[in-house]
Symmetry: C2
Subunit: 249 residues, 2 copies
DNA sequence: GCCTATTAAATGTCTGACATTTTGGCAAGC
DNA sequence: GCTTGCCAAAATGTCAGACATTTAATAGGC
């Protein structure tokens, strides 16, 4: 696999890393494939070997590549990627051709985790957390009807869910807010046309119920409401069956 | 804060990174403190500037340090550490003076997450997963009574819980097995003397119930059993109150 | 007193040479 | 024919030194 067709870049090892990472995430190389050698990358992008090595170091640290002296650089399997690394999340956002299997895996995780986080949030939320949640919800409401503000609406959506993780007041859960952005963006892009009419209103009221439950400090209700928010998408992705009627957990 | 008292090292940027990271994780510097300059590190450890820069790059990538040209290197707040990065978990294992607050946070996460993971495992486990679980459980049983094999017992304990995450068959959950090792080791070290007599037998039967529930493909039972395994420690750490009698979730 | 150059100090970058590891081929020897 | 050993090629890893860039403090001019 060659380097043809990759976009230009304007300097900086970070941008080079981002560029290569997005090509990897988009599936341009298969696991086990050999990755181009350092000197070829230097030549192709007209950068110093330092830049290339720094960029490759990032890709190695996130589990995308494996390098061994003498042999070369090979692409690692998806199961080895550090999906929880903020760098990976950053690189993933906005990739149009993200592997649907990957989106499904990440959403399956969210569907299992976020209800629990909402429960914790209802137990631990303080004034500042409620303020964040309400601000994000107001933003979602304001941008719900305007089809031109879809990108902004997605940002508020991300902010809302991130606020839930923040409100859990747990160091580990808080870091998973990073995982949300690519997931939410991808889902919105893929399901934007499906139910343009009924979807948004419905989604908004469900989000509102989560906020309400957290404000009331009602853990069980928050857990249920959070599951309701994700349920529709979970059904669409085949993560749960349609018939599930809240099986008393 | 100087570098006095840090152990020697035998070469390799990885080991230097590990050394510095463990000093950071042990609280040798406070958040906001200035970290030694590159050239000082070179002089102190008698290594090239390349080695130092590579080591510092790792610490920066994991959120332990923040570097800016011209100003220098400063230590970041604990809330900025990438606790989910495998490197961090690796560095954390075996630190004697790990911040108790950090242990508590990580265990609180486990207490909220692991029951859900056990549920998923009961739904998705296959033959290989059961084999892993049973092998780890056999190892725990075999090393339970021998006080000399405490280290080995801890390894089997880690393997058992990791097997649960693996059995969930979710890419994201699977990566959190890394988080277990330091958590389990630290807990065993701190609670080894507390209930030497009654603890091990009890813990063993509870682990057995998780295994049994997953084998029976009983999600609700698996979730309950996993919570039971962690409950005793959760009470000790003050994460839940003693009175909790399985409040129907 | 405030603004502006200058300087010092730190991290960032480039370059070329060299070291190390891995792989494969080739040839001698049993 | 098969193994063994050695050498060469190719890749990543390391080093050393000079230079660039950014930041903050400082001295000077008005």
């Amino acid at each position: 696999m060659t380097l043809d067709g990759l976009p230009q870049h304007r300097g900086g090892a970070e941008e080079l890393a981002r560029l290569l990472a997005r090509a990897l995430l988009a599936g341009r190389w298969q696991p086990g494939d050999a990755f181009p050698r350092e000197l070829d990358l230097c030549a192709h992008f007209a950068v110093s070997r330092n830049q290339v090595r720094n960029a490759l170091a990032s890709l190695t640290a996130t589990g995308l590549l494996e390098r061994t002296a003498g042999r070369g650089t090979v692409v690692r399997a998806v199961s080895d990627w550090h999906l929880l690394d903020p760098l990976i999340s950053d690189w993933m956002t906005g990739i149009d051709s993200l592997d649907p299997k990957l989106v499904r895996e990440i959403f399956a995780f969210r569907y299992s985790a976020e209800p629990v986080v909402a429960r914790l949030a209802a137990e631990a939320a303080e004034a500042a957390d409620l303020e964040r949640l309400e601000a994000a919800f107001r933003g979602m409401t304001r941008t719900a009807t305007d089809p031109a503000a879809r990108g902004l609406h997605a940002e508020y959506d991300v902010a809302f869910h991130d606020a839930i993780y923040l409100a859990s007041h747990n160091l580990v859960w808080r870091q998973m807010g990073h995982l949300l952005r690519p997931s939410i963006i991808a889902l919105i892009q893929s399901s934007q046309a499906q139910r343009e009419h009924e979807g948004l209103d419905d989604s908004l009221t469900r989000h509102g119920r989560v906020l309400e439950a957290i404000r009331r400090r009602a853990p069980a209700a928050a857990e249920r409401a959070a599951r309701e928010v994700l349920l529709r998408t979970a059904i669409d992705l085949g993560i749960v069956e349609e018939a599930v009627a809240e099986p008393q957990h």
